[in-house]
Amino acid sequence: MMRWVSLAAAAALIGAVAVLPAHAEEASMPRQAWSFAGPFGTFDRAAAQRGFQVYNEVCSACHSMKLAYYRDLSGIGLSEEQITAVAAGKTVGDIGDDGAPIERPALPSDHFKSPFANELAARAVNNGAAPPDLSLIVKAREGGADYLYALLTGYSAAPTNMKMGDGMNYNKYFAGNQIGMPAPLSEGRVTYGDGTPASVNQMAKDVVTFLAYISEPETEMRKALGVKIVLFFLLMSCVTYAVKRKVWADVDH
């Protein structure tokens, strides 16, 4: 009997740990159905590619993504030629043969180009608030993909009783509700090659899918491997338990 009581205590301990990260958010975040959610989820390639287009044409004007390489785009289904072409469209700084700084077309092995030379430059241009790097943004925010989607679609006019700071924008999901970033997405902000209508919700969903990939490029490999490993240990648990039963069969205990 006591065994069960103590097991229950252990379970309660684990359970308590499980609820610990739950914090109250600014406004309760709606949850979205993400293609990459769950143990078998994979990135919707078309959405991620559209999302890259949104990043490329909208976000990248202010946000760096400096941990990612152009070659990482192979993970959302871009071919080697497409990646080389994307990279070649950007110029990056380098040192020439004569030792002087030069600009050259980027290669797939280059990091994504940052819009600003450094954080101070980013601050100076953006009203004192440096736009955060997006390389890990989905992992670096409580709420992850759902939060980013909510943030991108959470802009509206400020309530009349709220005093907004200079150059600040009202967003109901941002901590404190005042965000430096003006609403980045608007109806038809980009023109999708595949004909998908570029609504704000669509673009937000696409770009978050892309950023989820960039934050955790290993996701698909991890989950595919994980299914095998967990099943392996499940099988081994059964086998060792059967062996244990056999070994202990003759012991009265």
């Binding site: 070659r71 081994m236 086998v239 056999k246 003759d250």
Partner: protein, 187 residues
């Protein structure tokens, strides 16, 4: 010992149980072996070249700035690569030598057909890994007009073949191809 003793003890319960148990043990043992092997692989593979290293495994090089008779050193996979713009005399010299080599190789097999004026070799002496000299105009090039290794005196000719000294083999030729007439891609 303990195992054999208990096995004997269980033996009295009839062969059937023992066979089943032995089979289960075999499965468990095989599973453990497979599991251990599978767990070792990620660790071993983590020591292989990573993606960022592999991404840099090919470089493009513009040949235009290299004057006739001159050589340059570039870097490929962390190693020096010599690119020599050979003069007609040097080409002729290199093609003429076919016998008496320590490591026999014809010059035509060491350059790209139609591009004989360009010699691309890995700049590492095959003796003990020093970098031979001979690219700079002021460098000593050795008796055979190629490269001279200052460590132990190995000498290479204008085709990068060893002609003198302790080195056992010719300078290696890296994989490369002409992208345009004046641009090569190494790796």
């Amino acid at each position: 010992m303990a195992e054999s003793m208990t096995a004997t003890a269980h033996g009295s319960h009839g062969g059937d149980g023992v066979t089943k148990r032995d089979f289960l043990k075999l499965v468990a043992g095989a599973g453990a072996a497979v599991g251990a092997g599978a767990m070792a692989w990620p660790l071993i593979d983590s020591m292989n070249p990573s993606k960022d290293v592999l991404a840099l495994s090919s470089i493009e090089l513009d040949l235009k700035p290299i004057a006739l008779g001159q050589g340059i050193t570039t870097m490929w996979r962390g190693k020096p690569v010599f690119v020599r713009h050979r003069t007609p005399e040097e080409i002729k010299e290199a093609q003429a030598v076919v016998s008496g080599l320590a490591d026999p190789a014809a010059d035509k097999d060491r350059v790209k057909a139609g591009k004989e004026e360009w010699l691309v070799v890995i700049g590492i002496c095959t003796h003990l890994g020093c970098v031979p000299v001979g690219n700079k105009p002021t460098d000593q090039r050795g008796e055979y007009g190629g490269w001279f290794c200052p460590c132990h005196g190995s000498q290479y000719d204008t085709s990068g073949r060893v002609r003198h000294g302790p080195a056992p083999a010719n300078l290696g030729v890296p994989p490369y191809a002409f992208v345009t007439d004046t641009k090569i891609k190494i790796g």
